[in-house]
Amino acid sequence: MTAATGRPPFKLGFLTHAFGDNPQQVYQDLLEQFDVAEALGYDGGWIAQHHLSNGFGSLPSPLLALAAVAVRTRHIELGTAVSVLPFEDPLRLAEDASVLDQLSAGRVQLGLGSGGANLDSFSAFERDAGQRQQRFAEDQQRLQALLDGQPLHPDSPLTVQPPAPGLAKRLWHSHGSVEGARYAATQGNGLLLGTATHDPLTVQKPLADAYLKAWNDPTRTPRIGVVRAVFPAADRATAQAELAVDIERHVPRLQREGLIEQAADLQEHLRLLNVHHGHPEEVLHSLRNDPSLLPYADYLIVVVQAESSTQAQVLQRLQVIAQRIAPALGWQPRATQSQTTVG
């Protein structure tokens, strides 16, 4: 760590939705993305869990994929952003997360969501979408207690095995409401901000402020992870050409969900979706002006893949962000950090 600037530099991660038509190829590409990210010094890779054939993401088992990543890598943190908690048995999830944490020497970061992006799948999992907020709190508290090594029931000698020391303190919540953000703070958990459809100034900033204000554990620090679409390219026109198809295909859905009032042009959609894109200098400028990003992020988690992105584009974007963009914002890659420590 460098000077006593008050705030340590943020960690840098990437997030994948595992897009693609051929799941077997998608998984191989995902493994390669983690290999490359680790070599570039990324602090973490995060996987979004998507269920069933509704056309958005093709990996329902992020912990299983991360177990494969764990034996191919040594340092990179293994995250979910997020696991859809209502579709899981908290006990089985605690077991899987613990085994993964042991396989990876403590590298798991477990993000939890209440299924707001998966409403059409609740019936298939025999769950009631109307109960999801209440159920989230019950399941998250049980999961957290189990990971903390507490007995399965007050009068039971049994605990989750294997133990996973510290994993209960590496949980994150994704919430879209101020109450939810406060709740994450009272649970001592991290807050994940920022699907593209939550406005950074009017929605995300109040969430971050409410979270920090509600944090009441003086022995630990709050932690905010900010997920951002970051698409650097040779110039702005190239970035927009690469994004156009994928952005426009989402406009009808975003209108339907009330997130965009009416269809406009591509520039406006990119602005509404808070996609940081263009020449690296333009991306830097855009990131610096994001009102709920740098002032808050303990973890900057970049999304660099859209549905029709090629693997070469994904890897290229990861590289440009790690080598040209994040360092200009104060981030240091892991290898550099260790050299600094040694020297």
């Binding site: 069933l52 054939s53 088992s61 494969a68 579709f87 077991e95 085994v99 059409d120």
Partner: protein, 334 residues
């Protein structure tokens, strides 16, 4: 037993006191077994370290193993199905099958340990009903059936995985009717020929697709090395535990060789073990012999030596040939 069967091994991922190296060592055991030509490796699921089994998440460990192996089949023997959310299990198994290029063999059972059912909020007495329900849901999802009124289906699909399911149960007619494989193990309370009869009943009842013929996986404890004190102590600890939950009703003390015989464990010279195996169910080209060579505290090096004796001296005497030999011969014939 005739030749041409598949040879597998089973690890229950035992360890008396937990240390994370148990997972790394299981991974190394799979690598060693693959190098010896074993066709499949199988891991057991245990919750809350019951019986000192350390792996509650077999598919997760197999996902790690898939990255470090290329050919060996990746099996579960077994997953306690009544305690699994069936659709999540289908998703995990399908993802693992794609990550491993179609190497998954999914073994399922109803479980027996009363404590674990309570912990999962399930009734021990209802475990067979829960098993049937979950199996139906699992097979429906793997078979690309619609999962809700909107017609959502499993994603990803894993072609062929539905024909690589196995069941460990004495209800063999139901297994045969479902077209699934049968996992068998010696029963200490039944005479030796009971297994042969069970296998015959299963084959006779087979009504599954003729494209996937009946298949039996015979799990067999095999200790081809000299008996150590640790082995004796492990066996006695195991028996006391099985006795305490009513699964084992035989005597707890007595001659060690008689105890091993009662448990159906084969031991001694390679020749004695081969003869013991020949007395079991006849295994053909669709069947598996699955050897278990470890007890709770068996060191990794000893487990690898035992697998080596079985691959080099025991199984070849029954007509099995290691995978590498088979493929090179098949290549030379073509």
């Amino acid at each position: 037993m005739s030749g041409g069967f598949s040879l597998g091994f089973l690890s229950r991922v035992y360890q008396p006191d937990y240390n994370p190296r148990v997972y790394r060592e299981t991974l190394e055991l799979f690598q060693a077994a693959e190098a010896l030509g074993f066709d499949t490796g199988w891991v057991a699921q245990h919750h809350f370290a019951s019986e000192q089994g350390r792996l509650p998440s077999p598919l997760l460990l197999l996902s790690a193993i898939a990255q470090r192996t290329r050919r060996i089949g990746l099996g579960t023997a077994i997953i306690v199905l009544p305690q699994e959310p069936a659709l999540r299990l289908a998703e995990d198994a399908a993802v693992l099958d794609l990550l491993s290029d179609g190497r998954v063999q999914l073994g399922l059972g109803a479980g027996f340990d009363p404590d674990t059912f309570t912990a999962f909020g399930r009734e021990h007495a209802q475990r067979h009903r829960d098993y049937e329900n979950n199996l139906q849901r699992l097979q429906h999802a793997l078979g690309n059936g619609p999962l809700n009124a909107d017609g959502l289906r499993l994603q990803p699909q894993a072609p062929g995985l539905g024909a690589r399911l196995w069941e460990a149960t004495s209800r063999v007619e139901m297994v045969a009717a479902r077209g699934n494989g049968l996992i068998m193990a010696p029963n200490p309370h039944s005479p030796a020929h009971a297994g042969v009869e069970l296998a015959q009943r299963y084959r006779a009842a087979w009504t599954g697709d003729s494209a996937s013929p009946p298949r039996i996986a015979q799990v067999q404890g095999v200790f081809p090395l000299a008996h150590s004190d640790a082995l004796r102590e492990d066996i006695h600890t195991y028996l006391r535990r099985q006795h305490s939950i009513g699964v084992y009703q035989g005597p707890l003390d007595g001659d060690f060789n008689e105890t091993l015989q009662r448990l159906g464990v084969l031991h001694g010279s390679a020749q004695l073990i081969s003869e013991g195996l020949k007395a079991g169910p006849r295994l053909g080209e669709h069947d598996h012999l699955i050897v278990q060579v470890q007890t709770a505290s068996t060191p990794l090096a000893e487990a690898i030596r035992a697998l080596q004796v079985i691959a080099e001296d025991v199984a070849p005497a029954l007509g099995w040939r290691p995978a590498a030999t088979r493929s090179s011969k098949e290549l030379s014939l073509s």
